[in-house]
Subunit: 507 residues, 2 copies
């Protein structure tokens, strides 16, 4: 047998751009995903969990750069010379592959939801990680905009289900066809050259997408010759004529007080473009369907300034924005911004099958949504720790374990201290670190008298910031002696009351 090589001590670090999630962060995300799944499921969507690993070929078209398979995704070659494999970078490309692969077994339309991590091989930054959660719902195989309207209604229900109150969010709906129509009317689009069409539309889309940040004048500059920013850097523009640019600006400003008024204004703007008129008609139908179900402009509205970055959208696009203000890193108030987006994409499956398969869907940024709930004070930073059964006499471990078992059987989170019990102060420090609400103490004296001490650590912490000795600590009023036989009942009552207090609405 060969001698094992002596290795240097490895670094205990996640790879750059990755992180670990502990305790409450994991539990709260799980709870949120379960809540979202409940809504998706109630709408008739079925869960799907596709493999995290795909062939680069299956993901291919949507890679940032088809000539460099490793850009944007984490990719490797099987056995050094086999297929190129990669971690999925979103949940939409895998859905297209799954639907193409299993379409004969799946119902049509196929409504599915998926939740899980995706991976991006991008430069990490503060708050930007290379692994994060997405939570998608899509309807594949139907062209009707009733499917788009349903997705918007479901998104509103979902946001409310996870704790975003009505009035704290708005879902904005637009339609790519309307923008195409506007560009056709303005003479910007040259339908005879599809490549030029896509390129120019891309520049215009990117300009519109900056309305929030740059304001109308900035967008106007980007639609025209170009724009120099504060640092002096110059961004090339779309080179539209002034009149053409004004048509696009009119489109972005087409939002009116009611959805139907916005629709009327858009209909004026696209008059003469069949594609534009079709898009306006779709928006009108979506609006009517939503109004009939009670989703008014306080929740969902048509807003022509929404474009969404992704090139693959072909019809309606949606975006959910949280409208309350938070303080940014410099302490300035700003709107929280987008937490979900989606739209109709009719070509994703086609590349596998050659057949048009219309689809529409939404993706929720779960991590951002959690951050929003934290910012609103709707989630606590830490969850309550277990009730700690302390160890006063290490020979009676079985007694303490039996107490913990009793508490658990009563549905209470509980554990026996399993560190070295010699130093009682360490047991208290441990309880403090874990945010334990109660400590249970049974020394030989208590044992002989058939009682246990139940110590309220929350109250105890408030009463005394400094604990010098076991004796002093035991003298605090935040503890009571109860018959051993009543342990579970007393603790249940205490925990129940604490939870009730915690659940009172705050702020």
């Amino acid at each position: 047998m060969a001698k094992p090589k002596k290795q240097p001590r490895p670094k205990a670090e996640t790879p750059k751009g990755f992180r670990d999630y502990f305790g409450a962060d994991v539990a709260q995300r799980d709870a949120m995903l379960a809540e979202i799944a409940k809504v998706y499921h109630r709408y008739g969507f079925d869960p799907l969990e596709s493999s995290a690993v795909e062939t680069v070929e299956a993901l291919g078209k949507y890679l940032p750069d088809v000539d460099r398979p490793n850009a944007g995704v984490f990719a490797w070659q099987e056995d050094g010379d086999g297929d190129w494999l990669a971690l999925r970078y979103d949940l939409t490309a895998p859905l297209a592959r799954v639907y193409a692969q299993h379409r004969n077994d799946l119902p049509t339309p196929y409504r599915r939801y998926a939740m899980g991590p995706v991976w991006r091989n991008e430069k990490p930054g503060p708050g930007r990680f290379r692994q994060f959660y997405q939570c998608d719902a899509d309807t594949v195989g139907t062209p009707t905009v009733a499917a788009d309207a349903e997705i918007c209604a479901m998104l509103a229900d979902t946001l409310e289900a996870v704790g975003i109150g009505r009035g704290d969010y708005i879902i904005r709906v637009n339609n790519r066809k309307v923008l195409n129509g506007v560009m056709e009317v303005a003479g910007i689009l040259d339908p005879s050259d599809p490549e030029k069409f896509a390129h120019e539309r891309g520049i215009v889309l990117r300009a519109i997408d900056k309305l929030d940040r740059l304001g109308p004048d900035g967008v106007r500059a980007l639609l025209g010759a170009g724009r120099k920013d504060e640092s002096g850097d110059f961004t090339d523009g779309a080179k539209l004529g002034a009149a053409q640019a004004e048509v696009v600006m009119d489109f972005m400003a087409a939002k009116r007080d009611s959805g139907l008024a916005t629709v009327a204004r858009l209909r004026d703007l696209v008059a003469g473009s069949p594609m534009g008129e079709e898009g306006v008609q779709e928006l009108e139908t979506i609006e009517q369907l939503l109004i009939a179900q009670g989703y008014g402009p306080d929740r969902i509205e048509i807003d022509p300034s929404v474009v969404r970055g992704l090139g693959y959208y072909t019809g309606p696009v949606f975006e959910a924005e949280l409208t309350f203000e938070i303080l940014d890193e410099k302490g300035r108030p700003r709107q929280f911004g987008s937490v979900a987006g989606g739209g109709r994409y009719d070509d994703l499956v086609k590349r596998f099958t050659g057949q048009e398969v219309p689809a529409t869907g939404i993706s929720i940024g779960v991590d951002r949504l959690l951050a929003a709930l934290h910012a609103k004070g709707r989630l606590s930073a830490a969850e309550a720790g277990p009730v700690l059964v302390t160890v006063m006499d290490r020979d009676r471990m079985a007694d303490y374990q039996a107490m913990a078992a009793e508490l658990r059987n009563a549905g209470i989170r509980a554990e026996v201290y399993l560190g070295n019990p010699k130093n009682f102060g360490n047991q208290l420090k441990y309880a403090d670190k874990r945010d334990c609400p109660l400590a249970i103490i049974e020394g030989s004296d208590e044992k002989a008298r058939g009682v246990v001490i139940v110590k309220d650590l929350v109250l105890g912490k408030r009463l005394a910031e400094e604990i010098e000795s076991n004796e002093e600590w035991k003298a605090q009023p935040a503890q009571q002696e109860v018959p051993r036989i009543d342990l579970a009942a007393v603790v249940s009552k205490y925990i129940g009351e604490t939870e009730k207090n915690l659940r009172e609405p705050r702020g």
Copy 2:
């Protein structure tokens, strides 16, 4: 702009050895993980979700072959020349990295649970996938066997919580130190040469591990000169003398009717070996702790024939086996076998920090546990589909959506048919494919009369295997006309009764 390359149509396939999970498979696994998490949490364990990607260096020691970083794991090099990264292949190696990295912020002992996919770059086979779920609980930072006993008790509670009845499983406990002691007494171990020690112990462990499959004579042969199997292949043996081999055989057969009798027998076998005596003492303490909490030999027993493959275990080892019989692929009855295993490993963190950090834990094979519940008929193959609101008049989509919304608000899973509504038969085929329990029908006639038709599809399927036309279908008795205003109430009542029927115990 460069012309995009024309690409051949990609194959719509998962990579070899990977698969997708649909509908009930996803929902049932999620439900099981949630149930397991609830038990782990009640025992005081905190959730941890480490990144799926680790540096190969952090995983390194436990790779099957340190000289070929790509063997066993899916690995790639960052930017072609940076760190080697890899997908985690279990949840234990990442725990060691996490504890070493965050030990100053974590409580000690640190009880954590983790659930999620792991990836193995191994040859796939029938039922063997390269991505699968693990579900672990570990206690890091304490040497007390009370932690091991707790893990065993928790495992029993967990199996019962997910639906494995008492009597259908047994948790077996052994201790590596006892085996080491036996080998020391038999003169097999030469403590002066640690490498030879590890190598010879490995051969003996592998032989013992085959007791179930080969029986005592087969193991005896493997402990001695070697064994020729039915195909004529020869496996080299451990080359023990006959007397030495008998000591090992005695050890494996040391199980007695009660745990304490087994402990007494083991104590005889290791007399004179300090390590062996320590191991027996640990088993006795575990037994006492478990008995005191009510975990008798009907649930957890000491069984010296359990060895567990992994080389890193240093003390107690555990294995949960399901004891009921299922039929194998050839129709022969066989025991279902192992669904969880674990043990104490005291050296995993040390390689990062240089300090001994004792740890113990368990890993549950979630997919096998789900298969077991399916085999026992405890999980249905498909979950119920949504109530389907059919589309009789495509201009009244808003009406149908409002019906679905009403049903959802009453907590009922419901959707409007969103395929092409022209062919009503397609709507019924869709309902059939989705296992919809009910269809709701509102044509113009019903609309005028203020009623809707509620069609029982489950009963309907039983009554008529063939449906020729819409009219004939409507004549079936499995449907009732109800006032439109009563829709949600009638459907609620129906769904409630169906669920009650489904929940009746089967078989």
